[in-house]
């Protein structure tokens, strides 16, 4: 809908926009082109066609080279592995196809719990982190306690290892008998939200501070209140700036959801553990690990693609 400027089409106003008459080499008047648009498209010269052909050939060559080198590299790795003294035993207890097939359904079922925890935790992290980041940007003496609390929170939970938070939340809070009984996945989710919100709120805060002060000034100059300026002008821009960092944190959390298994929740890791101890074979761990990688891969690719696009846009030269 929001069509970007079509290059080459002069705007209607056109006051001295540099589209003077008789641009050299571009007047399609007497040429055989019957283009309906009237603005005959430039036809590449023989030189340019040559260059394009050359680049294409180079492209094929580099694909061939990279394929060959990958093949050689993989062969070397396989050969080295197979010739290590312990290989037969490792292959047997880590890469047992039969064990993989047997454990797959349970591990996959466990992964479904991880996915659900991840979904809930992500939403929780976004909300809590946004609240904390906003608290930290509040000015004025009235908000001092809130600001201090938010700062203490980020210090505490960025410093503490996730596994300790899991134990404290998962075994400590239920011990208070203040809340109704909840299952392990619930406390695991809570611990994840607490820890990751501390990181993500710092990401948000950096994003908010990266929005140029002149943007705030312009918004206030239009009569927008502090809150309206935040919501309409600052936060949308901050979000865009920090999206790649957020996606990275999401990938990190994606694998850390496996840690809820320490509380006894039967997720992919726990399921793999059960299968492993049943048959004295570590293959289920490999299965679970690969499944986690498969889960993360789309987001990792998306993050790379989005960061590259953002960089390209910024290099094009954006506004202040």
């Amino acid at each position: 809908m929001t069509a970007p400027a079509t290059p080459g089409v002069p705007e209607p106003h056109g006051a001295g926009e540099g589209s003077g008459p008789g641009r050299p080499g571009r007047d399609g008047a007497g040429h055989g082109e019957t283009g309906a648009s009237g603005t005959g498209r430039h036809r590449p010269s023989a030189l340019e066609l040559d260059r394009r052909a050359f680049r294409k050939k180079q492209g094929y060559r580099s694909v061939a080279v990279s394929m060959a080198s990958t093949l050689v590299f993989a062969t070397v790795v396989v050969l080295v592995l197979r010739n290590t003294p312990g290989w037969p035993r490792v292959a047997d207890s880590f890469f047992d196809l039969e064990a993989a097939r047997r454990s797959f359904p349970l591990v996959l079922q466990g992964l479904w719990l991880n996915v659900r925890v991840l979904a809930v935790a992500s939403v929780g992290v976004l909300l809590l982190a946004l609240v904390i980041a906003t608290l930290r940007t509040l000015r004025g003496p009235l908000f001092f306690p809130l600001r201090a609390l938010a700062a203490a929170y980020t210090d505490l939970f960025r410093g503490m290892p996730l596994i300790i938070v899991l134990y404290l939340v998962g075994f400590g809070i239920p011990g208070l008998r203040l809340f109704p009984r909840m299952d392990a996945a619930f406390w695991g989710t809570l611990a994840l939200v607490l820890v990751y919100s501390a990181y993500v709120s710092e990401v948000f805060r950096a994003g908010i501070e990266a929005v140029h002060p002149s943007q705030r000034l312009a918004a206030r100059g239009l009569g927008l209140s502090h809150g309206q300026t935040m919501r309409r002008v600052v936060l949308p821009q901050a979000m865009r700036k920090v999206t790649p960092a957020l996606m990275n944190d999401f990938v990190a959390m994606q694998k850390d959801v496996g840690l809820i298994s320490v509380l006894g929740a039967v997720d992919a890791v726990r399921a793999a553990q059960i299968e492993t101890s049943r048959y004295y074979d570590f293959t289920p761990y490999v299965v679970a690990g690969l499944l986690f990688v498969l889960l993360a891969l789309p987001v990792i690719r998306l993050t790379d693609w989005y960061s590259a696009r953002l960089r390209a846009r910024e290099q094009m030269g954006s506004v202040v």
């Binding site: 002149s214 954006s318 506004v319």
Partner: protein, 246 residues
């Protein structure tokens, strides 16, 4: 005749020990265009920012259409909603389309229905020849186009007063003309404008009155042609000689 839109009485503003405005008296009548000139650092931008309460005032009073806006009980947001401001560096919102930039204040501050605000916004964009860019994003516009959009954004809610702070100094010379033409047409339509400018020819051409600011004081003021061609004060003469030198 006397119907002041903006009136500053003995306005002071300091940053730490640095007194930037030192007792400014200044009046802008309705439909009048006043140009602020003065050396870099003389306090022009600061004066404009105090006029819409984006800068603190240490002493004195500022009246907007008779209301003392330096009264601490006055709502600054409401005051700014009545004033249009344009900055040197356009400051369009990069995440919003051109049309959304123009209609933001109408929708959010003045709570006009979107359809109504957009119709008005498109009319304004058409009047500056940028109707086709309504749905484009600011970074696809030239500097001159961006600054014209910024001006249209400032007038979209029919402000009582327009504050323009060196709106052409970030532009390539060939783009300055289109922006100045827009200011001329605003004057013709009866806008009240207070503008800081380095374009002396433009000030002579468009301003009714010129105010020369020197080290935080109004050193000299008068009808534009008169002041610019025969300044009384030696410092004004010195300044003009410097900026008008080829």
């Amino acid at each position: 005749m006397a119907d002041p839109v903006l009136e500053l009485r003995d306005v002071w503003c300091a940053f730490g020990d640095h007194e930037v405005l030192r007792g400014i008296d200044l009046t802008v009548q309705r439909h009048e265009v006043v140009a602020l000139i003065g050396a870099s650092g003389s306090g022009k931008s600061t004066l404009l920012r105090t006029a819409n309460l984006l800068e603190h005032v240490d002493d004195g009073q500022i009246f907007l259409s008779g209301q003392d806006i330096t009264d601490p009980r006055v709502d600054g947001d409401a005051v700014r909603a009545r004033i249009g401001t344009v900055f040197q560096s356009y400051n369009l919102f990069p995440h919003l389309s051109v049309l959304d930039n123009v209609t933001l204040a109408a929708r959010v501050v003045h709570r006009r229905p979107r359809a109504e605000a957009e119709e008005h916004g498109r009319q304004l964009l058409a009047s500056i020849g940028l109707a086709a860019k309504a749905d484009a994003y600011p970074d696809t516009l030239s500097g001159g186009q961006q600054q014209r959009v910024a001006i249209v954004r400032a007038i979209a809610t029919d402000p009582e007063l327009l504050l323009l702070d060196e709106i052409t100094s970030a532009l390539d010379p060939e783009l300055v003309g289109e922006v100045l033409d827009l200011v001329r047409s605003l004057k013709a339509s009866g806008s009240t404008i207070l503008m800081a400018t380095h374009e002396m020819a433009f000030a002579r051409d468009v301003a009714d009155r010129v105010v020369f600011l020197d080290a935080g004081r109004v050193l000299e003021e008068g009808p534009a042609r008169e002041l610019l061609s025969s300044p009384r004060e030696p410092r004004t003469r010195e300044f003009l000689a410097r900026v008008l030198a080829p």
